[in-house]
């Protein structure tokens, strides 16, 4: 009980400091308002934060973090709140630091192919600002119209076009970063690579457990001369999977190859009337981009390979409106599943592309045996699956059954040499699966990295790792402080 009283007092101290630093309306303590921040895009985990702050700039943000460090109050960073692994789930005795008001594009330098943006800038807005100069920002999560760069950096977000262009980590070259002590440091720079340890690399994808990025320098990519998007209908996911492998085997790297199965198509159709081929058991959305001559040649090849692998309809988008409609079907698919099922779990796993037919078959079996429906949407090109596990939470036991199927799908991914997350992150949702992928030594090593940044364990505690070890507890068999520290030659910072 004393601990709880102390925690309340500590939050009160941070609140007082926040009121000194921030405008009145940027410090939220009213219960009804706090509750609107209970969950991110994964709405079935909910915790009411003790305090929400909406800093306007990096100095305000760093000031709040310093106050948290001083009073040992945990904090969690949140951008637009669209994450699908509960990474921004608040801490009941902690502060939620919301970056949605830090949304300025502070520098746009097309001549250097760089833009400098605040963490609350919406992903698509970077592309919108760069397009007039002939550039765009390549990583494009399906939620690109709302998810923010800060969250993208935290989760190392991917998207349909990552097959050819890489993930967020390949597009962030520098960042201003607030450590859990509240210090602001610059990581990376403008150059493509910085000498020394790749600390920026450690921070990108760290899911807010190492600190908060307050500014990111991102790489801009030249708009391609030609883009062709083709929608291909297949009888089954097997055929579509075979076509995908054939395309990659032929040495073509499309900007994107996306697959949706019949159930996912049904949902998208209900939501956005995207007019996908009727009766298709699977569709591929294939996008080719680059120099016109190259695209022309690759397109002919793709057309042939799809045909050879049993496509029954191929539809080339002839204008931007058609192309947008094809993509709309794909990009709204997650949320669209709300049209065909009251509740669902968006799963995210990775498998080697060649294992696609086998894994899909196994998922179908899981679904058949359990009676739990599973819709499949995925980045077929890089084997990143997004099975959508459907259930109705008002039915007793349905949630548990869905959870079980969802977990079994991750087991399948691990068995086939893949990963428990491709791009949504581990967050709260998957920390329990981490030991299935890593042994204790692996996890302990990761803890050492975390302790180097956040020895007090106040930056997004309880996420990513299943049993968060305190930094005082030295992992493994060794007891006591590391020898160098004990000898006074080094200190844990």
């Amino acid at each position: 009980m004393d601990e709880a009283v102390a925690a309340v007092a500590a939050v009160e101290a941070v609140t007082r400091r926040a009121r000194e630093l921030l405008p009145a309306d940027a410090v939220v303590t009213d219960r009804a308002r706090l509750r609107t921040y209970e969950c991110d895009g994964l709405a079935h985990y909910r915790v009411t934060p003790a305090l929400v702050v909406l800093p306007r700039d990096a100095a305000q943000l760093a000031g709040v973090v310093r106050a948290c460090a001083e009073h040992q109050v945990p904090y969690v960073a949140r951008g637009a709140g669209t994450g699908l692994s509960g990474g921004a789930l608040p801490h009941a005795e902690g502060v939620l630091v919301v970056t949605s008001q830090m949304r300025a594009i502070t520098d746009m330098r097309p001549e250097d192919q760089r833009a400098v943006v605040e963490p609350g800038v919406i992903n698509l807005d970077v592309t919108r600002a760069a397009t007039p100069h002939g550039y765009y920002y390549a990583p494009d999560p399906s939620s690109q119209q709302i998810c923010s760069i800060g969250g993208n950096v935290a989760e190392n977000s991917g998207g349909a076009h990552c097959l050819k262009y890489g993930f967020t980590t390949n597009h962030v070259v520098g960042a201003d970063f607030v450590t859990p002590q509240g210090e602001t440091v610059a990581l990376g720079g403008i150059a493509p690579d910085s000498p020394g340890y790749d600390l920026l690399g450690a921070v990108v994808g760290s899911e807010g457990t190492l600190g908060i990025v307050t500014s990111a320098t991102v790489r801009l990519v030249r708009l391609p001369e030609e883009v062709r998007t083709v929608l291909v209908g297949f009888e089954s996911t097997d055929h579509a999977g075979a076509a995908t492998s054939a395309i990659i085997a032929a040495g073509i790297v499309p900007a994107a190859i996306e697959m949706m199965d019949a159930l996912a198509i049904e949902a998208a159709e209900a939501a956005v009337h995207c007019n996908y081929p009727e009766g298709a058991g699977a569709v591929l959305v294939i996008e080719l981009d680059g120099a016109a001559v190259e695209v022309e040649q690759e397109y002919a090849e793709v057309e042939r390979l799809c045909h050879e692998n049993g496509s029954f309809e191929q539809r080339l988008a002839t204008d931007p409106v058609d192309r947008a409609l094809i993509w709309k079907g794909r990009k709204s698919a997650f949320a669209a599943v709300g049209r065909i099922s009251p509740d669902y779990i968006v799963q995210d796993g990775v498998i080697p592309r060649t294992a696609l037919p086998e894994v899909l078959k196994a998922i179908a079996d899981l679904s058949g045996d359990s009676g739990v429906r599973v819709a499949n949407v995925f980045h077929a090109g890089d084997g990143n699956l997004h099975p959508l596990v459907l259930f109705d939470d008002s039915v007793d036991g349905a949630g548990e059954a869905a959870e079980k199927v969802s977990g079994a799908i991750l087991d399948l991914c691990i068995e086939h040499g893949g990963s428990i997350t491709g791009e949504h992150g581990v967050g709260m949702d998957k920390s329990k699966y981490m030991p299935r992928m890593y042994n204790d030594d692996d996890l302990d090593t990761m803890q050492l990295v975390r302790c180097a940044f956040d020895p007090d364990n106040i930056s997004n505690p309880g996420k990513v790792f299943p049993t968060p070890r305190l930094c005082g507890e030295v992992p493994g068999r060794k007891k006591g402080a590391p020898p160098l520290q004990e000898a006074g030659l080094a200190e844990v910072f």
Binding site: D30, R31, A32, R33, R35, T36, Y37, E38, C39, D40, G41, L42, A43, H44, Y45, R46, V47, T48, L54, A80, G81, T82, G86, L89, A92, V98, S100, Q101, R103, G120, I122, S143, Q145, I146, C147, A270, A271, V272, S332, F334, A335, A336, G338, R339, P342, D343, Y344, D393, S394, G399, M428, K432, G462
Partner: protein, 457 residues
């Protein structure tokens, strides 16, 4: 599995976003049409609505987004009392319905916010000042006759320059920013044109239509009603203008004044019933969207439910009916560049986007320009710019900047509220341009009036 349970307990609450049927007693809502729990359950919290929500765009706060407002409704159903802060976030919603267009899960936010607003009006005690202002607005705007009485003094003030003098003193701003906003929105008034009750089609008769003359439209923009009647006539419609018609109830519906709205709706159904019209044509987006939903509004009234449904099915925006019929009257060229502004209650609420554009583009010589951030509300939103002048002004200025950036000579839109809001924002921006309703442009083209008539003096 037990470990996982323990983990889950540490997470706090888990499970679907809402699993309640009826409101918990003591919470924000009572049992008379509370926000529908099933509709709230449709929200999967994906956040796709956020960037289209004007208040989220302005303030970047969860509780001033559709997702956040739905969450507040859920809290209210779960027993959270109706607090001033909760109400302030619902009040801040413009009701533009851009979120309904954006939502991939099909959440009926329009229904939810209307249900919520009706509860707020019944159950929440507003401040004396707020009550007085709303009282003034609702004893004035829905009554065409009272609005017409206001025309005289307003015209006199405008003719003598007293209005500008008053604005310069800043007196109204000091007394009440809301009253100042109301005054600054009043358009320059021209001569009133009274329409006859029956206007015969020119040439072959293709349809018999009734015309809603509206409140603000009729009093402040009588030229729009006259142009609507002339265009319909030229396109082969007999136009019936029942004298008995009054307000459609849109402003009342959008502000939770349910019984008042139902009274207005019943009277309007009566006015047009038996007039023999195939369609009821509306030239104000906000009115049209409400009239199309009369079936829901009067669903609980056994003597009107069926009639309201039949009425709603006949309602058409003027651009819809003209597009449906297709042009017969020849168009004269208008050498003009036009920026078309989607009224929220036309584009988002009624899904009418293509028809007005097709009609305008079919005019020879006319160039149509798209406005950046077109889905974003201009801040008019019924009486929103009167009761919430500050955010409305910010949105108006943002819209004006995007409109000016098109370089168009004339701004065209199909709602009197938008027209007033954008006109005053454009005036502030100091980039004078012409302002017109879609039908006024069509009317000019059909009559062969020179393009200059649509340009500022």
């Amino acid at each position: 599995m037990t470990d996982q349970r323990a983990d889950d307990a540490a997470l706090g609450e888990t499970g679907s976003i809402i699993d309640l049927g009826m409101p918990v007693p003591g919470g924000a809502f009572d049992e008379h049409h509370p926000p529908d729990a099933a509709l709230i359950g449709d929200c999967v919290h994906c956040g796709f609505c956020l960037p289209t929500c004007p208040t989220y765009v302005l303030w970047g706060e969860e509780m001033d987004s559709p997702r956040g407002r739905i969450y507040l409704m859920k809290e209210g159903l779960e027993g959270e009392p109706m607090s001033d802060s909760m109400v302030s976030h619902w009040d801040a919603c413009l009701g533009c319905m851009a979120c309904v267009t954006a939502c991939p899960s099909g959440v009926q936010y329009d229904t939810l916010i209307e249900q919520t607003r009706a509860q707020v009006e019944r159950r929440h005690e507003r401040s004396t000042k707020d009550k007085a202002l709303r009282g003034l607005v609702f004893s004035l705007f829905p009554y065409p006759k009272r609005l017409r009485l206001l025309r005289g003094p307003l015209r006199a003030m405008q003719a003598t320059g007293l209005d500008r003098a008053l604005r310069r003193t800043g007196l109204l701003d000091k007394l009440s920013p809301q009253l100042a906003a109301m005054e600054s929105l009043a358009p320059r008034l021209g001569k009133p044109e009274k329409l006859p009750t029956h206007i015969a089609a020119r040439g072959e008769r293709r349809a018999v239509v009734g015309l809603l003359t509206g409140c603000v439209q009729g009093a402040f923009f009588p030229g729009v009603n006259a142009a609507t009647a002339r265009v319909l006539q030229a396109e082969g419609c007999d136009v019936v203008v029942p004298r008995s018609q009054g307000c459609c109830g849109a402003l009342s519906v959008h502000n939770g004044r349910e019984p008042e709205a139902q009274d207005f709706a019943r009277r309007l159904v009566d006015s047009f019933e038996g007039s023999g019209v195939e369609y009821v044509v509306v030239n104000a987006a906000g009115c049209g969207s409400t009239m199309k939903e009369y079936a829901d509004l009067l669903a609980d009234d056994p003597s009107y439910a069926e009639r309201a449904k039949a009425f709603a099915e006949r309602v058409r925006d003027v651009s819809e009916i003209l597009d449906e019929l297709g042009p017969v009257a020849p168009r004269h060229p208008l050498e003009l560049s036009i920026a078309y502004h989607d009224a929220c209650h036309l584009a988002h609420a009624q899904g009418v986007r293509a028809q007005p554009r097709r009609l305008l583009e079919a005019i020879p010589g006319l160039e149509l320009k798209e406005i950046a951030e077109g889905e974003l509300c201009c801040g008019s939103a019924g009486i929103y710019n009167v009761v919430n002048p500050e955010p409305a002004r910010e949105l108006g200025d943002r819209k004006a900047a995007n409109i000016v950036a098109t370089g168009a000579q004339v701004l065209v839109t199909a709602n009197p509220g938008c027209l007033m809001q954008v006109t005053s924002a454009i005036a502030r921006s100091d980039h004078p341009m012409g302002m017109a309703h879609t039908v006024e442009v069509l009317d000019a083209s059909i009559r062969g009036v020179p393009a200059s008539s649509l340009l500022p003096d």
